[in-house]
């Protein structure tokens, strides 16, 4: 089967770093698979990068793709908007997909608006739900707006493709199915795709090193209730126990307790972890806007009227300086017991 005979009208844009696919690539496939099935069409995934292995491409097939467009070139190893957008607009023009999904990450949210302008298509940012409208077959794109106070459903009636970025962690990857078959198409890259105006010089990891709040399954966040920078250790400790990443309210970041990459809320990151724990966070609406799509919310705050308590699935009205160490002791005891059982 050649690429031309595979009718894949739904596309996802896979993300890679140093040749390894990121989880969000598989989350997008789960979204795309459902849409493609509803439309009765195939699902393709586009991988732009360098040195992405056949095994990785095969994993895309096993997790839902019918076709993989592989665009590999040493000059595409790192994300730079212009050449990625050139490559994709070429592919879109050649194959005319109906739906293109990418992750709402720093690169997806850069690439997709750039591409939408070039291909004259509509784009919806940071969707949390996607569906197909009955009768019309149009993509229904739902996203939180105005600080999560409303959910807006948006469609693109006339222009193609219908493009959306999808919030990371808002869906789960499909399990691998080794029986699934698909085609892998190597797309040659012309020099004209390159754009010498932006050069990647290097990369350094976030100094804090505890990881990225947007990609984390568990986030433990601290706020001004912690009173001073040293007390953020409480949050770091609990994050470590739970296997999570440290987040913070704007107040904590503005006081210099932790860097901006960790700020959660309207003027920081939006997170959708399986578990969010807020410690000493009162829950200004700006902060709540950034955590509303978390699966489980736990709040620890001595103030019974704290806003975050009202949103929480489990609210603990307690002094965090007493409660968190007590909780950590229990988690440590539990872990020790589990380790003993393991031996």
């Amino acid at each position: 089967m050649s690429a031309e005979t595979c009718q894949c009208l739904v596309w996802t844009i896979a993300e890679q770093r140093d040749g390894a696919l990121k989880d969000v690539s598989f989350e997008l496939l789960a979204r795309g698979r459902r849409l493609a099935d509803k439309l009765g069409t195939g699902l393709a995934s586009v991988v732009i990068g360098d040195g992405v292995s056949r095994e990785a491409m095969t994993e895309l097939v096993e997790r839902g793709a019918d076709a993989v467009y592989s665009v590999q070139d040493p000059r595409l190893a790192h994300f730079v908007c212009e050449p990625y957008s050139n490559a994709l607009s070429g592919l879109v023009s050649a194959y005319s997909p109906s739906v293109v999904l990418a992750a709402a990450t720093s690169s997806g949210r850069t690439l997709m608006p750039h591409l939408a302008v070039r291909v004259r298509a509509g784009l919806t940012a940071d969707c949390t739900e996607l569906d197909i409208e009955e009768g019309t077959g149009l993509l229904l794109q739902t996203r939180p707006a105005i600080g999560g106070n409303i959910m807006a459903t948006i469609k693109t009636p006339d222009r193609r493709p219908q493009m959306a970025t999808v919030r990371p962690r808002s869906s789960r990857p499909l399990p691998r199915d080794p029986a699934r078959r698909g085609i892998i198409v190597d797309v040659p890259v012309a020099d004209s795709v390159m754009d010498g105006r932006v050069r990647v010089l290097g990369y350094r990891k976030d100094a804090d090193g505890s990881g990225c709040v947007e990609e984390a399954g568990i986030v433990v966040a601290g706020g001004k209730g912690l009173k001073k920078a040293e007390n953020l250790a409480l949050v770091r400790g609990l994050a470590e126990d739970l296997g999570g990443v440290v987040g913070a309210s704007r107040e904590a970041v503005d006081r210099g307790w932790i860097g901006y990459p960790h700020q959660i809320g309207l003027s920081g990151k939006t997170v959708s972890p399986r578990l969010y724990v807020g410690i000493g966070i009162s829950g200004a609406i700006q902060h709540l806007a950034g955590i509303k799509t978390s699966e489980v919310i736990v709040s620890v705050n001595p103030d019974p009227d704290a806003n975050l308590h009202k949103l929480a699935d489990y609210a603990v009205v307690a002094d965090a300086f007493l409660f968190v160490p007590e909780l950590r002791r229990r988690l440590a005891a539990r872990k020790m017991e589990a380790d003993n059982h393991g031996e």
């Binding site: 592919l91 959910m151 807006a152 890259v189 754009d195 105006r197 990647v200 901006y260 399986r274 929480a312």
Partner: protein, 291 residues
Amino acid sequence: MVLQSFEAGKRARGAARPAVPSAGGTLRILVPIKQVPETGDVKMDPETGTVVRAGVETVVNPLDLYAVEAALRLKAERGGTVVALSMGPAQAAKALREAVAMGCDEAVLVSDRRFGGSDTWATSYTIAQAARKLGYFDLVIAGERATDGDTAQVGPGIASWLGLPLATYVSRIESVEGGEMILERLVEDGYQRLAITLPALLTVVKEIASPRLPTLRGKKRSKDIDIAVLDADSIDLDPSYLGLKGSPTKVVRIASPKVSRGGATVIAKDDEGVAAAADGLVAFLEKKGLL
């Protein structure tokens, strides 16, 4: 199939910007800003699904202040001009005056009823064409996104229309030399270091610099300054790309999500209470499969 870059014929219409860099290495910088509702004071038009901007307290999008600050610092270092631009109704002049009070030299309001209801695609088109009208810029510096729409799509969209190289989420500008800028951009778990050729478009994040407060002199200037107004007739525009009609995306439904999750509350007043609450939370997390 071999990938080619998209054909020149698809580029935005209108005369090319004069490719003349500013004299003597000074910088002419454009800062597009947005007026947004104060948080919590937002109404939606149930008919169009767009934000009602009339009668609502407004502020300059807080994330745009970092762009203004970054531009003013570059100007202080290199000399040049900072032009603030806002697209919106006549009231958006207030946002422009705030930018002038901080130190921007010029202010341009892009305003016309025909622009109403623009989505990010139509907005970026209109701002890009307005920028062409204003002549050469060495840099366009925008905020990472607006706190109301929260899309982060307009900055990259403008770069795409203008064919400018783009760096988003810029957290630090290291140097500007010989028409090239070295900078760092914030990505998920670290910082990417880039060299970018000017003219270019940057979107910046909070780490770039703390926004200054308006000075008394700036406030006085902001009251007196003439704000240039560009309407649809004074910009070279394709009418089919404007406003609600020219916007590829349409809002079909607005719903209010439920806020309360009906969660459990445990009150711990003493050591015993704290111990019980810790037991309770461990049990809760276990039940949810989170431990």
